[in-house]
Symmetry: C2
Subunit: 330 residues, 2 copies
C-alpha cells in the first residue's frame, strides 16, 4: 500500500491517540517514525508501531504520563521521560536546551526513564539546523559483551554527530555493533546462516546460527576498540542519567516486564565562538573528501531518499497497513 | 640508563630551558613526557624530545611564543597556542575551563595553532580528577583515507574519554587507526613485512610492505565506521578550531616546513546535576564487566604501570640519554 505522507502521518497518529496518548505525544512519536520511513530506515519506522502500541497496552510504556523538564545547572537540562515514549521527551528537552546553548555556548541534555529513541541521527540533525554541533549517546537493551567477556552487557548503543552545513547538516549515525541486529533476525526468519564475525553464542564462541547469535552477543565494530566505545556510550547515557544499564533494560520488542528505562544524552556546542569561519573550513574538508573517487559524505544518502520519498510516498506492507487501521479505530 | 623520576624530569626540562622555552612551558612539556614514560607509552615519552627540540631550533615550534586564552562565550574557552607546544596551552586552557564547568555544568575548550598533544588520555584523566566527565578530540597529520578514498586525509585522530571513579578515573584513549603508526615504522626498521589489514599503498591497494604503507594510508579501525569516526574527530578538532586539516598539517617527526597548526578540543560535563548517584551507578556497571572472566576496565593497565614505574624509575636508552644530556647543556 503506497501512502502519501499526510495520510501516513494521520494513520500513525490515530493509533497513538486511540491508546490515550496526548496530541503532543502522538504527534512527536509519529513525526519520528515518518521521518525514519522517509529516510529509508523502515526498521525504525512504522514496523515499530505494533511493539510500541502493545507496550502502551501492557503498561510497559506509560502512555499518559507527563514528562518533566528541569534545569539543574545553567547549561544542563534534565528530562524525566516518566516511562512514556522517548520522542516527546527529547523534543521537549531540546526546546529548552537550544536557547541555553545560544546563550552560553554549550549545553548538556539528559533524558532518563526513557524508551527507544529511534533514529539517533534525526535529533542531532535537528540541533545542527539550529546552527550547533551535536553529539548524542543512547543505550539500548544489552547486545554486546565487554572485550574478552561473554555476557551481553552494552546495547548496540548508537553514537551520533551532526554539524551545520548547507543545504543540509552533515550527519553521522552509527551503532557500535558490526551489523544491525535486524539483519540477524531476518536471517533467522529466512532460515539462513549468518557470516562469521557478526555474533557470538552464549558461551562466547563464534557462531553462524542466527538463533544462537540472538541468544548470545553481537560483535562490536572494530573489536576491542568498538567494545570500549560501547562502554563509553553506556556511561554517557545510562550512568550519566541514572537510568538502567543495557543489561538491566527490558526488550523494546515485546510487551513483557517493566519499562526499559533506558537513557539518551545530547551535547550541544556553538561552533561560532571558536571559529567564525566554521562553514568555510568545513567546505574545504568536504571538498578534499569528495575530490576522491568513490567517496561520499555520511548522511547524504538518507537526505536524497527523504526528498524522493516525500514526493513519491511511502510503501507500507498490506498486512501492517491493515493492522494499523484496525488499531487506529479501536 | 635507569633514572629516578626527579632526575628524568630535570633532564627533560633542561633541554627545553636550553632552547629558550619559559619555565612554565618547559615544565608542562616535561610533565607530559614523564607521565607517558610512567604509563609505559615510550612512543609518546622522551623519544619525542629530539623531534620537539629540532622543531624549536628550526622555528617550526615557536618556543618563546606566549599562548593566549580567551572566553568568547560564558562556557567556551579558546586557547591560541601560538605555534608553541600543545601541553602548556592545554594546561592553561584547563585552568580556565574547570571553574567554568563547576559554575555552569558544561564547558568547551578549544586549542588552535597547536602541536602534538601526546597521550590524549592524560588530559581527560586530569579533568575527571576534578569530578567531571571529559571527552577530547585531536587531529594529527594525515594518515587515514576517507572510506573508499585513497588519499591520507584524516589523522589517526585520538578520541579520549574519562569519568570520575575511585581511586582513579576510568580512562578511554584510542586512535582511530587499526594499529599505531609506530608499529609500521618499527617493522620497516627491522626489515619485516606487516600483516594485511594494517595499511594501504598510495594507490589504495592492500600492502604488507611497511615502506609502501608509510607512503600510503593506515586502515581505520572497524572499516567504514572507523573512517567516519576519524572524520568526526577531524571536524571536532581542526574545523571547530579553525586549525589545519590533517591533510594540511606538517609532520611531527621532522623540523621541515611550517608549524603543524593542529588542534585539540575538550568537552567537560559535570555529572552531578543529572545523576547525584553517578559513582554508585558506575560501580554497578564496572562490577558487571569485571564479573566476567578475562575482562578489565580501559586504562587500568596504565595506572598500574604508573605506580610501579614511579617507584622503580624509567629506563632510557643510552644513546637517547647521551643525546639529551648534550642538548640540555648547549
Amino acid at each position: 500500500m503506497l501512502l502519501d505522507i499526510q495520510s501516513l502521518h494521520q494513520l500513525g497518529k490515530n493509533v497513538f491517540l486511540s491508546l490515550g496518548a496526548s496530541e503532543y505525544v502522538s504527534t512527536c512519536v509519529t513525526d519520528a517514525l515518518v521521518l525514519a520511513e522517509l529516510d529509508g530506515i523502515p526498521s525504525h519506522g512504522f514496523s515499530r508501531i505494533p511493539f510500541y502500541a502493545d507496550q502502551a497496552l501492557s503498561g510497559k510504556v506509560a502512555v499518559k504520563a507527563q514528562a518533566r523538564v528541569s534545569t539543574p545547572a545553567p547549561t544542563v537540562v534534565r528530562v524525566d521521560a516518566a516511562h512514556n515514549y522517548a520522542f516527546p521527551a527529547i523534543t521537549m528537552g531540546l526546546e529548552h536546551a537550544i536557547p541555553l546553548c545560544r546563550k552560553y555556548g554549550t549545553t548538556l541534555l539528559g533524558v532518563t526513564h526513557s524508551h527507544h529513541c529511534g533514529v539517533a541521527g534525526h535529533f542531532v540533525e535537528r540541533i545542527a539546523r539550529e546552527g550547533f554541533i551535536a553529539l548524542s549517546f543512547a543505550n539500548t537493551p544489552a547486545a554486546i559483551a565487554p572485550w574478552n567477556g561473554h555476557k551481553a552487557s552494552f546495547g548496540t548503543n548508537p553514537l551520533a554527530f551532526a554539524c551545520p552545513r548547507q543545504p543540509h547538516p552533515l550527519v553521522i549515525d552509527m551503532s557500535l555493533s558490526t551489523i544491525a541486529r535486524g539483519k540477524i533476525m531476518l536471517a533467522k526468519q529466512k532460515g539462513e546462516s549468518i557470516p562469521e564475525g557478526w555474533a557470538l553464542d552464549v558461551e562466547g564462541k563464534a557462531t553462524t546460527d542466527p538463533a544462537r547469535a540472538l541468544q548470545g552477543t553481537m560483535l562490536p565494530v572494530g573489536g576491542a576498540k568498538g567494545a570500549t566505545l560501547a562502554l563509553m556510550v553506556e556511561i554517557l547515557s545510562a550512568t550519566l542519567n541514572g537510568a538502567n544499564c543495557a543489561f538491566e533494560a527490558s526488550s523494546l520488542f515485546d510487551a513483557e516486564g517493566a519499562a526499559p528505562n533506558i537513557a539518551q544524552s545530547f551535547i550541544l556546542l556553538d561552533p561560532a565562538h571558536l571559529n567564525p569561519n566554521f562553514p568555510e573550513h568545513l567546505e574545504k574538508l568536504c571538498a578534499h573528501i569528495l575530490g576522491q573517487k568513490g567517496t561520499r559524505l555520511p548522511g547524504e544518502r538518507r537526505i536524497q531518499l527523504r526528498e524522493k520519498n516525500r514526493a513519491r510516498g511511502i510503501e507500507i506492507a498490506d498486512t501492517l497497513y491493515a493492522e494499523l487501521l484496525q488499531r487506529a479505530h479501536k
